[in-house]
């Protein structure tokens, strides 16, 4: 497994996870608020929102390890005109900044709900721009054949929503589990089963999304490999990276997490379901898929074989 690009692996996965989680969170809040009321939804989703920040910050910190002279860092904004890396950094910093602003606004109740919704929507767009520009860094290199295909942005977005969905689902399920445990300890019944219903709906949606995104991965991965192999030369050499024990493990892990467990999740999620079991299912699925994505991203970097000399 290629660990020389570990900072990049961590940065790209965590930042994509953050964007995916943010977008899905936003979608949940938008649609669920109508049915369950914004307070319930806020109480349910806020912890997840606050968890995204640290994930993104950790990712950004990892990315600085990829640089070898951080004293010149402020120069990285100079080449927006042609460098996707410049653009990605702008998107990343803006996304982080706006996300922080939003979290603070949510915590301190700044501005109206509509204003905060608008800010959230804008932040989500910036986040998607981050994932797009990140994928373009790699896609735009005609000299690296394994990256110079539409599979790159498709895979990046798939990872974004796969990790984002399962991260959000885990956050939801764990939140509900803690609250029900606290309620049981306090000897009180959870007075409101709307949280349970909301969780059910979310987890069913997340399970379904995971299965669909798994389907996407299982289509684009073989397509990518066969395209590279057929091209011969350097492309075929890159394709050979996607083989062996690690590659098989990646497929097995993502199948178990986004396939098997997602199916269980979909079928088991209900208002009467045991919160601990739900939390166990979705966090396990998240862990398996995260492991798969770690391997996948690592092999992505390992497939970096340039044409020429």
């Amino acid at each position: 497994m290629n660990t020389s690009e570990l900072p990049m692996i961590i940065f790209t996965l965590l930042s994509q996870l953050s964007v995916g989680a943010f977008v899905i969170l936003g979608a949940v809040r938008l649609f669920a608020s109508r049915r369950y009321g914004k307070d319930v939804v806020a109480g349910f989703t806020d912890p997840a929102l606050y968890a995204i920040g640290p994930a993104l910050v950790l990712g950004l910190a990892a990315s600085t390890l990829h640089m070898h002279d951080v004293s010149n860092t402020l120069n990285v904004f100079r080449h927006l005109g042609s460098s996707w890396l410049s653009r990605e950094i702008v998107f990343g910093v803006t996304f982080g900044g706006l996300g922080l602003l939003l979290a603070a606004a949510q915590w301190f109740k700044w501005g109206s709900t509509r204003l905060r919704h608008a800010l959230a929507a804008f932040t989500a767009l910036v986040g998607l721009g981050l994932v797009y520009s990140m994928s373009m860094i790699y896609y735009s290199l005609p000299t690296v054949l394994a990256w110079h295909t539409w599979v790159t942005p498709v895979q990046f977005f798939t990872t974004t929503f796969l990790l984002g969905a399962l991260a959000v689902g885990s956050a939801f399920a764990v939140t509900v589990m803690w609250r029900s445990r606290a309620a049981v300890k306090a000897g009180a019944e959870l007075d409101d089963n709307r949280a349970g219903e909301l969780l059910t709906t979310c987890l069913k949606g997340i399970g379904l999304s995971a299965i669909m995104l798994l389907g996407v991965e299982f289509i684009i991965i073989p397509l990518h490999i066969s395209y590279l192999s057929a091209a011969g030369g350097v492309a075929a050499e890159s394709a050979r990276v996607f083989s062996g024990v690690w590659f098989i493990s990646r497929l097995v892990l993502v199948f178990l997490g986004a396939g098997l467990l997602a199916v269980f999740l979909f079928r088991y999620a209900s208002a009467r379901a045991n919160p601990r079991v739900l939390a166990g299912l979705v966090t396990t699925a998240f862990a398996l898929v995260l492991a798969a994505e770690l391997i996948g991203r690592s092999q992505f970097y390992a497939s970096m074989i340039r044409i020429g000399i």
Partner: protein
């Protein structure tokens, strides 16, 4: 406009001695691991066996490559800090005062021209010995070649004199970055992209 400079390489004369490579390292005091001019060996072919005898059908040739100071340099395109720029004379240089060592240009360049220096944390590369040229001298590699296989000068002149060929295997398609390079090909030179042989010394590049 100032004349755009480039390199000329007579592949029929190169025997892979790497005097050019070592002369450059000496002049620029480059440590082991940072090599601004590299020499690739490309070989292929087969042996026919008939009982105890063998008939060879084998080819091999060398390509000496530093930076081609390309017309459309991909390193300049991708650099986030504008540390890598192209001068009026076409020479591409790295400004260590801006470089963050992200190594994006290293990923991009199909000639491995930008070389990462782990001691300084910056990228570094051939500048066609700007200081020597300012004094009317040849770049170190050109002066060192015992076969006189290297030359430099305004790319227009080099092309007028030696033609337009800018790539053979193992070099990439020249339309990607439009290198300021003219090659007189070895008699066995394989056209770029045909993959009829293989790079024999990848670890030395």
């Amino acid at each position: 406009m100032t004349e755009q400079l480039g390199f000329y390489f007579d592949q029929t004369l190169c025997n892979g001695c790497k005097a050019c490579s070592v002369a450059c390292k000496d002049k620029n005091d480059l440590k082991v691991g940072v090599t601004w001019r590299r020499v690739a060996e490309y070989s292929g072919g087969t042996w026919q066996q008939d009982g105890d005898t063998y008939v060879p059908n084998v080819f091999t040739y060398y390509t000496s490559m530093a930076c081609n100071h390309c017309e459309d340099p991909i390193c300049v395109r991708v650099c986030p800090t504008t540390a890598t720029t192209r001068g009026a004379d076409g020479i591409v240089t790295v400004d260590a005062g801006k470089c963050v060592g992200c190594r994006y240009c290293e990923w991009a360049c199909p000639y491995s021209a930008p070389q990462f220096n782990s001691e300084t944390g910056h990228m570094s590369k051939c500048d066609m010995c700007a200081d020597y040229r300012a004094e009317g001298q040849d770049p170190a590699c050109v002066a060192a070649c015992p076969a006189r296989a290297l030359d430099w000068g305004p790319i227009k002149e080099l092309r007028a004199k030696h033609g337009d060929l800018a790539a053979v295997e193992p070099l990439p398609d020249p339309s990607i970055t439009r290198p300021h390079l003219v090659i007189t090909p070895h008699r066995d030179a394989q056209p770029t992209g045909t993959g009829t042989g293989a790079l024999a010394n990848p670890k030395e590049l």
